[in-house]
Subunit: 230 residues, 2 copies
């Protein structure tokens, strides 16, 4: 309110805001944890389209500009969300024995988590691990499992990156429309492809994205597993 310069009052704010009042250096209304979980909740409710800085601020009962005291950009919030989500990825099987099964469990849960958050993939894929501590912790658990399974040191990171790349691509695939391979009017000019699509549709009762993911993952497991020391 421009004219309020001389009006010290406004004792209750616009609409009896909860007792949370403004600014002090110590205990804050806002912090990165609060922002992260509010963001996650908002995304769950409104999707990534409804996820705006203004909407996020509203769920926190705060002005949009207040967010910028705790994050430097919207991308920053996405990074926080991404790192938080990574803690839902299951790496427990790497502590136990079987490498193949551990990778399977990890890969499926990783894909399942991020198939609901594909807008984060461009962020994750190029994010320095130092900016995402939980993600780094995941890499540590996975690396340890690969090491224990007899992988040569210099192949561990490339193998993980390869599997991860497959996972990211596959996460998109989960969100594809069911009729994505419908050739429509051009079916006649693409006989091999059209036949293959048709055949798949006849055979499969499982979701196509799952069939492709299983096929690729098992192929990767077989191919990469051969690198392990006997």
């Amino acid at each position: 309110m421009t004219a309020a310069t001389s009006a010290p009052a406004d004792p209750h704010g616009p609409a009896a805001r909860p007792r949370r009042r403004a600014g002090r250096p110590a205990a804050a209304v806002l912090d990165q944890n609060g922002i992260t979980s509010a963001a996650l909740q908002l995304i769950g409710k409104s999707g990534y389209d409804g996820f705006t800085m203004a909407a996020l601020a509203r769920t926190l009962n705060v002005a949009p500009s207040a967010l910028y005291n705790h994050v430097s950009s919207k991308r920053d919030v996405l990074v926080l969300v991404q790192d938080h989500l990574t803690s839902f990825v299951d790496v427990t099987a790497f502590e136990a024995g079987d490498w193949e099964q551990a990778v399977r469990d990890w890969a499926w849960s990783y894909r399942d988590v991020f198939s609901k958050h594909t807008p984060l993939i461009p962020v994750i894929a190029v994010l320095p691990v130092a900016d995402a501590p939980k993600t780094l912790a995941m890499y540590e658990a996975v690396s340890a499992g690969f090491s224990r399974a007899g992988f040569p040191q210099e192949r561990i990171v490339p193998a993980i990156v390869a599997i991860e790349s497959f996972i990211f691509g596959s996460a998109y695939d989960v969100t594809a429309p069911a009729d994505i391979f419908d050739s429509g009017t051009m079916a006649a000019s693409t006989p091999h492809f059209t036949a293959a699509v048709q055949r798949l549709a006849e055979e499969g009762h499982e979701k196509p994205a799952d069939v492709a993911f299983r096929l690729g993952l098992e192929a990767l497991l077989a191919g990469l597993g051969a690198l392990r020391a006997a």
Copy 2:
């Protein structure tokens, strides 16, 4: 030829086919081909950040609103660009003999094309093939190669999807910063991962993204190749 995405106008009935309608002005300053190549040029010069509808219109000496007579949204333009780029992907090796080498050539060129256009990946990954004729043509060539190589029909599409998912993820990887795996201050708490990263850096002279891509692709080739009929 490239009757791409959505028809611009079609103010009459649903099935109003390419039927001749009454008078139309001849001086078509703009069309989808022109828009596509201008877009590609603009993206090459200014990147995807500089790629705005206003900038695109400017390179075409046209008002931004004029674009909407030929495309229905910015996403539409991206679809046109994506389909055009797909024609740069090399599928020629599928006509010749060796399946493994054909997939190798295809996959590397596919990755190389789209690693410079990662903002298109979320678009490609969920785009119905009917909206992208050149992409459909690529699938036909690849499917034919898989079929000729002895793949069982119902595995062809899942295998292609799996490889493609790997390619999309790997395309992002190409654009990752060189220090993406630098654990920074947390190196001490992630010994296995840090050691693996270090070891890779010592060994490798090739670009890390290329090492990972080759490793994953060869694993996929080995694993998927086993599906072929003997």
